[in-house]
Amino acid sequence: MDRNQIGKWLKNPGKMANKYSFHVVYFCTGCGIIEVPPSITTRWDAERFGIIPVATPRQANLFLITGYVSTKTLAAIIRTYEQMPEPKYTVAFGSCPINGGMYYDSYNTITSLDKYIPVDGYIAGCMPRPEAIFIGVTHLWKLIDMDKADGYKRYREDYVHYRANQEQILGELDWPPLFSKENL
């Protein structure tokens, strides 16, 4: 541990702990997942930074969206994202979640993910190398330090709009709204 950080730890332990203990939802949403096993195993060992995959979204705070998102997956992504406890962070891989990437004209993949769920950061490349994943994570650390990784807050504030966008694509959603008027 860095000695300079002790002050930060005392000031806001929750924030610092969130930084150094990313529990990733293990959800193979796209082809970028192929670089996740190398980065969590021997060669790159993400556990050094406290990053481990967990089995259920309830225990996670980082959601890696690894590549293109088909409409069927989008429903699963939204459900998984809503199950995660706050604070939670989303990082999307590659160009596909930004604007559709090479699937710009595919009838089954959405073109920009941040219309449906908030995304805190994007990692460039198809697919990003394990090093790029780590760079993405360190950037996320900086964002958390500056309180700019506020995707979950935006989701709470603009939930009505996000829900409207989700319903525009997926039709009537078969789960109740996460935030109603009372618990906002």
Binding site: M1, P13, G14, K15, M16, A17, N18, Y20, S21, H23, T41, T42, D45, E47, R48, F49, G50, V54, A55, T56, R58, Q59, N61, M84, P85, E86, P87
Partner: protein, 311 residues
């Protein structure tokens, strides 16, 4: 003395338990050619879990995990940690009862969550407990018969005079049986059937998040501590180390060094468990039960007969 122990021993157990969790992650990583997380990583994880918003699934969901954690704390009070023991009266019988409360609380929570994965995990948890309780009971019965006492403190004190139980020929078989079921008690591979992440999404704790997860991690740390500490107390002579502490007898230093020796012995036992953990896959539940009812039960039963006949 007892009043101090009342506050100090849960603290020691908690810190040591978290340390063991961190150590096991680090050692596993080293076996897998990895660098591994820092040893204090579980502490960070717990702080993070506490800082997260938790979702509750009803009163029983909250109650179960609290019950589990508090019973684990009470359990610690009955356990001699070195020379420290808060409640000397209950002995092994109370200990055995309380040891079941931890899994029971988790099961209660898991059942309240109404997740199919949790319910499968709970049924597995009870089956596994059923499987390892039989040899465990036999082992403890043998020890109680051999030493003519049900008090853990007594057992440790006798060992201080007559040598470790694991070294005496009469108790070597129960010792081996306990070592064989230790992974099952700790939930390590090859008996990692309850929290099998790849099969049933961590089983009973599938719905645990936020504070519930933090409580679970603390409970797990205590559980690991208790499982190993019981072995050290009964078979490895607790705080004793070939009369090393005799010159210090009666001083505070004896207590402190007793605890240190105790923890070192526990680390040694943990290492054995970790090495087994690293090279085996997990059993299926019926295979685990078959195994536990066969070898450990047989060995401990033979041990019991030997002790009964020779006394």
């Amino acid at each position: 003395m007892n009043i101090i122990a009342l506050f100090v021993s849960p603290l020691i157990a908690l810190i040591a338990g978290m340390f063991f969790l961190g150590l096991s992650r680090k050692i596993s990583a080293r076996i897998q050619w990895r660098y591994g997380p820092p040893i204090y990583q579980p502490v960070i994880d717990v702080i993070r879990s506490f800082s997260q918003k938790s979702i509750t699934h009803g009163k029983f969901f909250d109650f179960g995990i609290i019950l589990s954690l508090s019973s684990s704390f009470v359990l610690i009070l009955f356990l001699p940690i070195g020379k420290l023991c808060a409640l000397t009266s209950g002995g092994l019988i109370a200990f055995l009862y309380l040891m079941l409360m931890g899994p029971f609380g988790i099961a209660l929570s898991g059942a309240a969550a109404a997740n199919p994965n949790s319910s499968i995990g709970i049924s597995r948890k009870f089956l596994l407990a059923l499987a390892y309780e039989v040899p465990l009971l036999l082992v403890l019965l043998t020890v109680m018969t051999h030493y003519h006492t049900i008090s853990l403190v007594e057992i440790v004190n006798i060992q201080a005079n007559s040598g470790w139980a694991f070294g005496s020929w009469a108790l070597i078989l129960p010792g081996i049986a306990y070592l064989l079921i230790l992974p099952a008690i700790l939930g390590m591979r090859p008996f990692e059937v309850v929290g099998a992440a790849q099969e049933i999404s961590s089983g009973p704790i599938a719905e645990f998040g936020g504070k519930h997860l933090a409580f679970y991690t603390l409970q797990h740390a205590l559980h690991v501590f208790v499982g190993i500490a019981l072995f050290v107390d009964i078979f490895l002579g607790g705080w004793t180390f070939f009369g090393l502490l005799n010159p210090l007898a009666g001083t505070v230093w004896a207590v402190i060094f007793g605890i240190i020796i105790f923890l070192l012995k526990m680390t040694l036992v943990l290492f054995i468990g970790l090495f087994v953990n690293a090279v085996y896959p997990r059993f299926r539940i019926e295979q685990a039960m078959q195994y536990l009812w066969k070898w450990p039960t047989l060995i401990s039963f033979v041990g019991l007969i030997i002790v009964v006949l020779t006394k």
